[in-house]
Amino acid sequence: MAHAEAQQHPVAAHAEGQQHPIGIYLKIWGLLFVLSTASYLVDYFHFHGYLRWFLIILFMLLKAGLIVAVFMHMLWERLAMVYAILVPTLLLMVLLGIGALEADYTFFTRGVFFLKGLF
């Protein structure tokens, strides 16, 4: 698509940097508004439990993906660049897992010791 447009506008093909039609930014902007409203409504209508979590995480990841892909132009970068930046963030999943395990354990021991103090 970008290629076809470059052919239609020979001037743009010679210009430097990221050149994309303004429409794509406006559409993504609108989409981000819709997604933000949707995630706000999750709270407004008091969704609870797994449905709440599913919707919050879904809207969060969609918004993050749109910002990185279009606004930050990752969609049009070479893969060597995209992978160098995005793959290391997967390491954070490990930290997230460790954090959750640790928190569960702390909660459990607190339960045990605080209860002991009561009796």
Binding site: G17, W29, D43, A80, I85, A100
Partner: protein, 241 residues
């Protein structure tokens, strides 16, 4: 759609498809990030490190929230606003979210007009972005004042529940607000450079001998969109949890 756009920084080698392309770009004594100005690659690497900092904050927040035995203050009520005699949950935060997303939209368009060398539009859009960013910081100051003065929330405790609430809140939103404030200052600097024509005349910038180019608008944009990106995560895990 995934085709790479050439920029003027040397002659990139022909790019094989997929994983072979990555291997070709990274192998044997060449520049790994071809057709990307070095400033942009450096900004991306900085943003990656910043991602780790913010993630550490958010993950430690998750850890203290999951492990506390006291009830966590309900963000939906704490951050609600009373309008027209009716309490609307999380209203202030929703407005802040829309303000920041709008600033991202104007920033993206500023980058576009920058590469088209449309000085006036780039300047106007950069100023809009800075104004929206300043609005966001102002609303955050209002929120902090409300919490500190009226609700009595402190980093070491609060009357609403778990003591960790204040520490996590002030640390995370404070660090994010600092990023927004620094971004506003740099937006004004870049806007000044644009309207003065520094980038058109390739005048070297502050403390550097390198020629000014419109790629600095895109690099500024990367930082600004990152600030918005972090807010997306804060909004989801701090305010909506």
């Amino acid at each position: 759609m995934t085709q790479a756009i050439q920029t003027n920084t040397g002659q990139p080698l022909p790019l094989p498809e997929g994983i072979e392309g990555i291997v070709a770009d990274w192998s044997s004594d060449q520049r790994a990030f071809k057709n990307v100005p070095w400033g942009k690659a450096m900004m991306w690497i900085f943003l990656l490190s910043d991602t780790f900092i913010f993630s550490s904050f958010l993950i430690s927040y998750m850890t203290v929230r999951m492990s506390t035995t006291d009830p966590w203050p309900n963000p939906s009520e704490v951050f609600g606003l009373t309008m027209f005699g009716k309490s609307i949950p999380l209203l202030l935060i929703a407005i802040m979210t829309f303000v920041l997303i709008s600033s991202s939209g104007t920033m993206a368009m500023a980058v576009k007009f920058g590469y088209e060398k449309n000085r006036r539009m780039t300047f106007i859009l950069l100023l809009c972005t800075a104004a929206l960013g300043a609005t966001f910081v102002g609303m955050q100051a209002f929120e902090w004042t409300k919490l500190i003065v009226h609700e009595g929330i402190r980093p070491w405790g609060n009357p609403l529940g778990a003591a960790q609430f204040g520490a996590a809140f002030f640390m995370i939103t404070g660090f994010h607000g600092t990023h927004v404030s620094i971004g506003v200052i740099f937006l004004l600097i870049v806007a000044t450079k644009v309207i003065r024509g520094d980038l058109d005349h390739e005048r070297p910038g502050f403390m550097t001998g390198r020629k000014g180019k419109y790629e600095i608008v895109e690099i500024m944009g990367l930082y600004w969109h990152f600030v918005d990106l972090v807010w997306v995560f804060i909004f989801a895990v701090f305010y909506l949890w």
